[in-house]
Symmetry: C2
Subunit: 603 residues, 2 copies
C-alpha cells in the first residue's frame, strides 16, 4: 500500500523533512500546518520540491474547532476554512483533516455538527478538496470514532468522510472492530501510531509519547486488519508525536518510520490472509532465532576479557585461520575475541551472532526492513555470514549454527561436560535516542517480542529496561536506556549454567574476583525472602545474588567490568523466567563503587 | 524546626549522600532501605558516620505490605518486621515508616489492620521503636490519610502513629484541613514533597515527578500550617522521587533541598502568625523586585551587541570610570556591555540586576537561602551591589535603582522621549539539570511566582517554558529548558516599547536586520485571527509577529542572534499579559534557518 508520514514526526525544517521522507522511501507526506507556517518557502515551492522528490502531499492538517458551534462562530469557521482551502490548492493537497472540536464547541448535537460539516463540504467541493473528520480522544463532545462516523453519515456529503487514527481509538479502549461497519470509501484517511502502555491524560500521552508501530503496546496489526476489511485503500500514514523523534536526526527517524510500516504491513498481511483485496507488502518469513550463536568482543587488546573467560572455565578453541580472532567456548556459549588495531583500548560487545533456521531468508528480511548491511572481510573458504548494523552500531550476524567454528585452529577440544551451557541473555545498553528504534529493529528484523518495560534504580539514576525475547526464551536481549548525559556504559553477556555454586567455587580457584556484593544485601535477603541459613552463607561467601518468585529461583553472579564488557553467570531453577531485576540496584551500586575506587583491572 | 531528607532524593552511594546532606546543613536523614542494602558499609559504620557528621537517622523506610493480610501471611510480616527492627537498633533509628498495603492486602477491614498494627506495635515496643503508618495514594484498601488515622486510633498503641506525606494527600485532592483533628503527638513523622500539576496515575507521578517545595504546584505552606496547628513538632522531612535529582550532583541537590525547606518554613510562618507554638525559621522580608535594573552582556568583544543596541535607538551613556564596561540606556532599559579578556568570543547574558526596595534585606534573604555570593571588583566610590549566582551561573544583582549610572563617564544624555521604556522580560534558557532549581531560586530568593508551564515546539524539539514573575508583572523571567544533548543556546532580553511600528521603521533606517519571518506566517495570521489587510501588510513588511487574545494584542520583533544573545522588542496593547507563545515555533524555526545558513554576523 502507499506509505505516508506526517511531517510533525520529524525534527528540522519542512524542506529537510521532505528530503528525509523521500530518501527513506515514503510515497507521500501529511503537511503539518505549523511546519508550513514556519517554512520560508512558499506553498508553490513546497509543492514543486515534493514533485521533484516524488512525494505526494496527501493530507493538510489539522483544521481545528470546525463544528458544534453556534451560527455566529460558524461564520468565522467558514472564513478560516476558505483561507486554508485556497492554500491547499496552492499546495496541491486534496484532503484536509478536520478534528472534532476541542476549544470552541458549545452545541452537543449530531445534527448541528453534521449540518456544519455539510456546509464545509459544500465549500470544500468548490475547491475539489475532501474533508476527513476525526474524533480526537479529547474532543469536547465528539471523542469516539463511532460518533464521528454517525455525524459524517448524517452529513451525507461526498466531500466529507472520516479520518481514523489508531491512537485516538486505542488509547480510549474503543473497540476497533466496529470500523468494519464503515464503508471503505467513506474512510478518507488512516493515521497510524503506536504508544507505550501509560496511565495518564490522553492529551499528554498523545503529544509526547506516541511511537511508531511495533515500538509500543497497541495491537496495530489487528487494528489495520479492521480498516482494510472495511475496504480502505488509501495510504498508510504515520502520525507520531514523540519528544525524542522531535529532537533527533530526521533522515534516521524517517527510515525507522518506514521500517515500522513494512513490519506492520507484513504482520497484517499474515493475519488477514485472503480476507482483503488490499495489496499489502510482505516480508520474507523469518522465525525468531534459535539461540545466540556467538558474541564478539572487540578491542586492541582483548586479553583482560580472555582472562575472565578462562577463569569461568571457557576453553580456548583456537585462532582464526585468516583473521586476528580467537574463539573461546563452553557448551553452546561462544565468545569471539577480535583484536583490531583501531578498535580502542576498551573492550566492547561489537557483535552478536544469532542462530537462525534460514540465514538467507533472514538476511533478505533484514534488507527489506532497511537494516544497514555491515561489510565483512571474508576469505576463501570462510563461511559467509550476513551481518547488519543495529541502531547503536552493534553488528548483528545471522548464521545457521556453529559451522564457522572449523575456521579456528590450534585450540583445545571442547569440554564434553561444561558447567556453562549457553548464552542466557545479552544486555545491550542503548543511547537514549536509539532506544525505541532498537525495540523496533530487534522486533522486526529478528522477530523478537517486546516485554513490558520497567525502571530500575541505580546510583546515577533510573534505568529504563525492556527485554526483547523469542517466544521460547532461547534468545533474550534486555535493552537498557542510557540518558543523554551519561557515557562509558558497559554491555553484558549472561551465561547460563547448571550449578552456579560449583562454578563460582571453581572460578575463584582459577583466580576470578567477582563483583563484590555488600553484606547488607544478604541481611535483607534473609528478611525479605526467608532464605535458609545454609544457602545464605553460601551465597554470601561467593558473592552470589538470589531472587525467587512463585515459579522458581534465580542465582547469579557478576564479573568485574573490563572496559565496556562484563559477564553474568546465571542459574535458573524451576520455571523462573526473569532477570533478577530486584538485584539490579545492588549490582549498579557495586559497579559504581568499584569504578570510583579506580580498580586497576578496569579500563 | 529540625530538617531532614530521605536519602532517595539524591544520587550516588549512601555515604556520598550522607556527606551531601551534612554539608548542606540538614539535621537528619531518612534512611531509604535500598540505599542501605546497596551500601558496602555495615549499619554500625553508617551510624558512626552519621554521628560524626552530626546527622540523626530519623526514619527507616519503607516497610511494605504490613497489614490487611490473613493470619498466615501476617506471620511472615512479623518475621520480616523483627529482622528490620533488629537492623534499626544497629542503625540507632527510632522510627520506621509502615506503608499501607499495596501488594498483599486481602482484608479490607479497619479492625484487622488496626489489630495487626497493634501486634506490630508490641513487637516494635520491645525494640523501643515507633511505627509511623502512612496511607499511600495507591494503597490497595487504605489510600487516604483519614482512614490511616482511624486505623491508628483504633490500634491504640503508644508505638503506633501516623506518617503524613504531602504528596499522598494532595495528589489525591484530599482535604488537608482534617489533619488538625489528629493529635500532634500521634503524628510520628512528616514527609514533604511538591509536584507539578500532571494528570497521570499517581504511582508514576510520585515515582518520577516529585519536586522540592516551591518547585511545583502544591500549596505546601497551607498544608504545613495544618500539620503544625495539629501540634506536630518532629522534623520537616523531604521525600522527593525525581528522575532528574537521581541523576545529578547530590551535594548540589541537597543544598537545593534545604533551600526549599527554608522557603517553606518562612512562608508557613507568615501564614500562621501566632497560631502555633512551632519554632519556624524566618527569612528577612524581601518583596519581589520593582523591575529589571540592568542586563549585563559579557564577551571579549561586545561590539556586535552594541551595534544592535544603537540600531534599536539606545543611547551610549559612557564608559565606567574604573572597569571595562559601557552603558547603553533607553528609558528605564539599561544594557551594560562588559568586555573581559577571558569571557569568550560569544556574547552572553552574564548578569541581571534587579531593582529591589531594600537591597540589604534582599541580600540577607539570599544568603539565608544559601544563594552563592558572587565576588565583584569594587573600587573606591563605586556603589557596592550585592550579587549571587543563579543555578546556571547567571549573576543576580540586587540594587536599589540606577544610582550606579553616575559611575559612567563621557556618554550622551538620555533621550527624554525614548521609544523603548523598560525591560519587559528576560528569557533565560536553563540546562535541564538546573531547571527546577531555577524555579525555586527565583521563587525564593526574588519572591517571584511560578506561572503554569507549557511546551512550545521548535525544529530541534519541544521546549518546556515556565515564567517566573512578580505579581504586578514588573519583573518577568521566562525559563526555558535546554535538553541534555543541546548546546549553544541563546538568552534573550525583551524590551517594552510604546510604538513598535515606528521603532521597527526607525531601526531599519539605522541598519537593523530583524529576524526574517516567513510569508506563510502572515497568510496563516490572516486566516487564524482575521487581521485586517493594512495591519497585515505593515506586520509583513517589518517582520513583526502578532498575537491577540480577549484582553489585548501583542506585537513583537526579534533581532538576529549574536553569539548567545538576541533582543526582542514588544508592544503590549490593552491587557495582553502573555508572551506570544504561539509565535515561538516560527521564531525558533527562523532562528534555526538563520544559523544553518551560517550568517556572517553570528558567532
Amino acid at each position: 500500500m502507499r506509505t505516508s508520514i506526517a511531517t510533525v514526526c520529524l525534527s528540522g525544517a519542512l524542506v529537510e523533512k521532505l528530503h528525509a521522507c523521500a530518501e527513506a522511501g515514503f510515497d507521500g507526506v501529511e503537511v503539518f500546518e505549523p511546519d508550513l507556517v514556519a517554512a520560508p518557502q512558499s506553498p508553490e515551492e513546497i509543492r514543486a520540491l515534493a514533485d521533484r522528490l516524488g512525494l505526494t502531499l496527501d493530507l493538510y492538517q489539522p483544521f481545528r474547532d470546525a463544528e458544534g458551534v453556534d451560527e455566529a462562530a460558524f461564520g468565522d469557521v467558514l472564513r478560516r476554512a476558505e483561507a486554508k482551502l485556497a492554500l491547499m490548492r496552492r499546495l496541491g493537497t486534496e484532503t484536509m483533516l478536520v478534528c472534532s472540536n476541542v476549544a470552541t464547541a458549545t452545541v452537543d448535537d449530531d445534527e448541528v455538527s453534521a449540518s456544519q460539516l455539510r456546509r464545509l463540504g459544500d465549500l470544500a467541493a468548490a475547491y475539489d478538496i475532501r474533508l476527513a473528520y476525526e474524533a480526537l480522544a479529547w474532543g469536547r463532545f465528539v471523542d469516539d470514532y463511532r460518533r464521528a462516523w454517525r455525524i459524517v453519515e448524517r452529513a451525507d456529503h461526498p466531500h466529507v468522510g472520516v479520518c481514523l487514527d489508531s491512537f485516538h481509538i486505542l488509547s480510549r479502549g474503543h473497540d476497533p472492530a466496529e470500523i468494519e461497519k464503515i464503508p471503505g470509501d467513506r474512510i478518507f484517511f488512516l493515521q497510524l501510531a503506536d504508544a507505550p502502555a501509560l496511565t495518564m491524560d490522553v492529551l499528554s500521552w498523545s503529544r509526547h509519547h506516541r511511537l511508531f508501530p511495533g515500538e509500543g503496546s497497541f495491537d496495530l496489526p489487528t487494528f489495520l486488519g479492521h480498516v482494510l476489511r472495511a475496504g480502505y485503500d488509501g495510504p498508510l500514514s504515520l502520525e507520531v508525536f514523540n519528544d525524542t523523534f522531535r529532537r533527533t536526526d530526521p533522515a534516521r527517524t524517517a527510515r525507522q518510520a518506514l521500517r515500522s510500516l513494512r513490519w506492520l504491513e507484513d504482520r497484517a498481511a499474515r493475519d488477514l490472509g485472503a480476507t482483503t483485496t488490499a495489496t499489502l507488502g510482505r516480508l520474507p518469513d523469518a522465525p525468531a532465532p534459535r539461540g545466540v550463536d556467538f558474541v564478539e568482543v572487540r578491542a586492541e587488546d582483548t586479553t583482560p576479557v580472555e582472562t575472565i573467560l578462562e577463569q569461568l572455565g571457557f576453553d580456548f578453541r583456537g585462532r582464526h585461520r585468516s583473521k586476528n580472532v580467537r574463539l573461546w567456548t563452553q557448551g553452546a556459549a561462544r565468545i569471539v575475541c577480535h583484536e583490531r588495531p583501531a578498535a580502542g583500548a576498551r573492550p566492547v560487545v561489537a557483535a552478536v551472532g544469532f542462530n537462525v533456521a534460514d540465514p538467507e531468508g533472514a538476511a533478505l528480511r533484514a534488507g527489506r526492513l532497511m537494516a544497514p548491511p555491515v561489510h565483512r572481510q571474508t576469505y576463501a573458504g570462510d563461511q559467509d555470514l550476513r551481518a547488519f548494523a543495529a541502531p547503536d552500531g552493534t553488528e548483528v550476524f545471522l548464521s545457521g549454527g556453529g559451522a564457522w567454528e572449523e575456521e579456528f585452529e590450534h585450540g583445545v577440544r571442547p569440554d564434553p561436560d561444561p558447567a556453562i551451557t549457553h548464552v542466557d541473555h545479552v544486555n545491550l545498553v542503548q543511547p537514549w535516542q536509539f532506544f525505541d528504534e532498537a525495540v523496533l529493529f530487534y522486533g522486526s528484523v529478528l522477530s523478537l517480542e517486546p516485554q513490558p518495560a520497567l525502571d530500575v534504580a541505580g546510583p546515577s539514576g533510573l534505568v529504563r529496561s525492556q527485554v526483547m525475547r523469542s517466544a521460547d526464551g532461547a534468545v533474550r536481549l534486555p535493552l537498557n536506556l542510557l540518558p543523554a548525559e551519561q557515557h562509558g556504559h558497559a554491555q553484558h553477556v549472561a551465561l547460563a549454567c547448571r550449578d552456579i555454586v560449583g562454578l563460582a567455587r571453581a572460578a575463584r580457584e582459577r583466580g576470578l574476583r567477582p563483583l563484590r556484593i555488600p553484606g547488607n544485601y544478604y541481611d535483607d535477603l534473609a528478611a525479605r525472602l526467608d532464605v535458609d541459613d545454609e544457602l545464605l552463607a553460601t551465597l554470601r561467601s561467593l558473592d552470589l545474588l538470589y531472587d525467587r518468585d512463585s515459579t522458581g529461583e534465580y542465582l547469579h553472579l557478576y564479573t568485574q567490568t573490563v572496559g565496556g564488557v562484563f559477564f553474568e553467570v546465571v542459574e535458573r531453577r524451576g520455571g523462573y523466567d526473569g532477570y533478577g531485576a530486584g538485584d539490579a540496584p545492588v549490582r549498579l551500586s557495586s559497579q559504581a563503587a568499584h569504578v570510583s575506587s579506580r580498580c586497576g583491572t578496569c579500563a
